[in-house]
Amino acid sequence: MDLFLQQLSNGMVIGSTYAVVAVGFALAFTVLRVIQFAHPDVFMIGMFSGMMAAGFVPGGGLAVALIGGAVGSTAIGAVIERTVVAPLRGRDVLTTLIATLGVSVILQNGMAAVVGPDPIPYPRLLPSRFYEIGPLVLTLRQMFCLGLCAVLLALASFYVRGTHIGRATRAIAERPDVAAAFGVNVGQVCRITFWLASTMAGLAAVAVGTLYGSASAFVGLLYGLKAFVCMLVAGNRYFEAVIVVAFALGILEALVTGYVSSSLRDAVAFFVLIGVLYLRPDGLFGSYAT
């Protein structure tokens, strides 16, 4: 039982990081009909820019790293939006997929040319401290990561449900043409949504870097595929469904690691995807017609 609870909480932490990346993916896909394949690499850029910011300002610590991560990822996200995504809006999904994939190749290999292809140690922005909560043992870094991701996801949910631009986002997701006819500035809403998704990824990236203590130019690969699976399994009708699925996937992976085998961990996501899409082609919670 203790093992179960421990794996459950570990899974929650992993799931929260999947959720932040997947939500960024889902925002870009539902609003812009673009598979932003470079989104995990925006996440990676945030990780490194946070690290550099923390290096430039001695004693600045976590706050400076978070600001640096957010600034770096938002900047790179804005550049991608301006140069690749906006000109291709309305084209076939596959065209944008390949184009952003090209961006992803550029970002990964560009960063590998700067920092080298191997993982490098991430600065210790938080002390390594353990907390025992009942039968559970959680590190301070895990708690920070989970907390930050939870706050980001809550803010994202508030943005989509509660703000004016967020409601426009949902209108565009359903019918871009009708939304435009009702006076929504589609281009602007898409841009802002894209920027916000990038900012979120950058903030979460600093927390993930701190959690694992290492950063790699190719960290995006794994996150990209997992986030992709979450988005598809959830379908795009309910924004929050992506979060639920991401947490469920994280927990499922942790349980498979704990009880079955750690080498099967990465296969779980894909078996779930095939199973769910075979039974419900529109995702668990349904999708808008595309």
């Binding site: 190749v105 699976v229 075979y278 082609p281």
Partner: protein, 315 residues
């Protein structure tokens, strides 16, 4: 002076194999099912033929045929699995299937597991690869102009309209997926006997992605598209070797540039208008150019305008 052939041979072999695989993907994609499991299908072909030659002593040619068979079988299964799914979801399901197979191969000790499947004999040479590329091109070319090929295009463009015209959507999808996958499985089997090792990571999505990039870069409307894409993009990283660590960045830049400025790939539906104007030829399937009525055939003004430019050029 002759350049050193031994240096170019691997590049030529990989180019030919990539042409065969991309042509297989082209056949699959013709009915609108752009498979994202190319590498997994090729890997199944490689594993199947490798197990037959190494563990059962089967000769090379029947083993390659078996590789093609198992590739086609997997294609058949994938097509049946995704029959109900919408276009975009379908592509991503094939992606997941490929990844799942990769992990399965990783955990299955009989076929080597994480240590890869080794012990294959080197059967593949330049000639084998030329034959494989020729077979795949011939099959794809015949398919391209066949009744089934047109049916596949109709299903891709509008399944509902195709069905109402009496085309069996399910049949077309399964047959095209199986045929394309058989070509890929054959190429995979031959590749395995050149590399002499089959590793689980070869089955992954990021290998499959290469073939999709080849196809979309060249253009998926004509048979010449995948051939051009595979040749250019296999040779390009080799040609960029002087730039070593920046070559992948340049590779990425070229992909983005093509997608931005030639969205349909280098060869669109009317392949390279410039080349046609200069040489007066159309690349790709001869059947297509005969059967599709071009604007010049209908509009006399444009024909005469073309003739005019031709005469001014000759003057």
């Amino acid at each position: 002076m002759m350049p050193n052939l031994a240096f170019f041979e691997p590049i030529v072999i990989f180019t030919l194999l990539n042409v065969a695989m991309t042509v297989g993907l082209y056949v699959t994609a013709l009915s609108g099912q752009l498979s994202m499991a190319t590498a997994a299908i090729a890997g199944v072909g490689g594993y199947a033929s490798g197990i037959l030659t190494v563990k059962f002593g089967v000769p090379f040619v029947p083993a390659v045929a078996a590789g093609a068979f198992f590739g086609g079988l997997l294609g058949c299964i994938l097509a049946l699995l995704t029959l109900k799914m919408r276009d975009f979801i379908l592509k991503l399901t094939t992606l997941a299937a490929g990844e799942a197979l990769s992990v399965l191969a990783f955990n299955w000790d009989y076929i080597g597991g994480a240590n890869s499947f080794t012990g294959l004999a080197p059967h593949t040479g330049l000639v084998t690869c030329v034959i494989v590329a020729a077979i795949s091109l011939y099959v794809a070319w015949r398919f391209d102009g066949s009744r089934l090929g047109y049916g596949a295009r109709a299903v891709r463009d509008d399944p509902l309209a195709a069905a109402s015209m009496g085309v069996s959507v399910a049949q077309v999808r399964v047959v095209t997926f199986a045929l394309g996958s058989a070509i890929i499985g054959m190429a995979g089997a031959v590749q395995a006997h050149y590399l002499l090792v089959v590793t689980p990571s070869q089955l992954g999505f990021f290998v499959s992605l290469n073939y999709i990039i080849f196809l979309l870069f060249g253009g998926l409307q004509t048979l010449a598209g995948p051939v051009l894409g595979a040749v250019v993009l296999t040779a390009l990283p080799e040609a960029l070797r002087f730039a070593n660590e920046y070559r992948l960045i340049v590779y990425g830049l070229i992909i983005v540039a093509v997608m931005l400025w030639r969205t349909d790939g280098l060869l669109g539906r009317t392949p390279l208008g410039v080349a046609r104007r200069i040489f007066g030829v159309t690349f790709g399937s001869a059947h297509t150019s005969q059967s599709i009525l071009r604007a010049e055939d209908v509009l006399p003004s444009s024909t005469s305008a073309m003739k005019e430019t031709a005469t001014t050029k000759s003057l």
